[in-house]
Point group: C2
DNA sequence: GAATTTACGTCAGCCTTGTTGACTTTCCAA
DNA sequence: TTGGAAAGTCAACAAGGCTGACGTAAATTC
């Protein structure tokens, strides 16, 4: 058995194993986004709209600043996406009561319908993958992903985990 | 304990669990690409160049058609990337001996140096994540990712796994 | 041997989604 | 009351996807 110094049998840390993990991430992410992409093509929306819809649904009433922090894009970029979603009546923007500078974002009925369609598709794939791999694998999956995040993103992720 | 029909305790298949998985994928993929992105910014290259370099390194002598199938982009898109890499002397293109229509692609010395820099960074993150999560988690991670791929992509992935 | 198909390259133009920079409006808080 | 934060907007640009059309060389098929 190929061992590294320390003799713990860290076969899973060889460059070859790491490379497989890298390629698995690459190919899997394609599958991960494939279904929503398919639904959105033809509509005037893209992946950026999906992300905005997802996180507004996830945290109703969230502010633009919040969303910027989560999505990690510039406000100009987010604004373009948000503006079309508001114009098309998928997202509602509400001036803050406590702090009137802030805009609180909500999905409208119409927005909720699209969100449902997108997340149903994405969850279906995730469910199939989970079912195929089993509960123990799922736990490992989540552990590795969490460890792979930047600390700042991990914070965001955990905040969402609790908050929901 | 919340059970679904069948009584196997499929707690990991609840919508809430699936949503967490979806968000974990989103945030983790950001981390996954962050280091190479940082290295490439400033150079005239981007993520698309990284992908081309990765898979040419992975399968030296691969053809353009092969690369197109793996990357899932149009030849025009790939060509733009490949052309700059060839011009800059990172990739060498060689007319096929058996079939002279084909172009076989290789990394040059210079290409190998950049590839090393990029993959070192990406592997370092992957290694840290693997180490933090442990071997069992890594196995689960790979199982779920593989199950998440489109069948066509899974074929490509497995072909690479063996071939290497 | 001629016709067709395949592999590759290229030009032109378009779209989405990211970026910077500059600027305004609104409004809270010191 | 004034400084600064939050939000929005305009303009310009770049990366990297896409389609469509076309050209060339080589292989394959008829």
């Amino acid at each position: 058995m190929a061992e590294t110094a320390g003799g713990e049998g860290l076969l899973f840390l060889t460059d070859e194993q790491l490379r497989k993990g890298i390629e698995a991430m690459f190919f899997a992410y394609r599958g991960f986004t494939a279904d929503p992409d398919r639904i959105l093509e033809g509509m005037d929306y893209g992946r950026a709209h999906h992300r905005a819809i997802h996180f507004v649904h996830r945290s109703p009433g969230t502010t633009v600043s919040n969303l910027l922090a989560i999505l990690g894009v510039t406000k100009q970029s987010l604004n373009r996406v948000l503006r079309t979603l508001i114009e098309d009546g998928l997202v509602r923007s509400e001036k803050g009561r406590v702090d009137a500078r802030e805009r609180h974002l909500f999905l409208t009925e119409k927005g909720l319908i699209l969100e449902r369609e997108l997340s149903d598709a994405q969850r279906a794939r995730m469910r199939a993958a989970y079912r195929a791999a089993g509960p123990a694998a799922v736990q490992g999956f989540r552990q590795v992903l969490e460890a792979m995040m930047d600390p700042e993103m991990r914070k965001q992720y955990n905040r969402l985990k609790e908050g929901g």
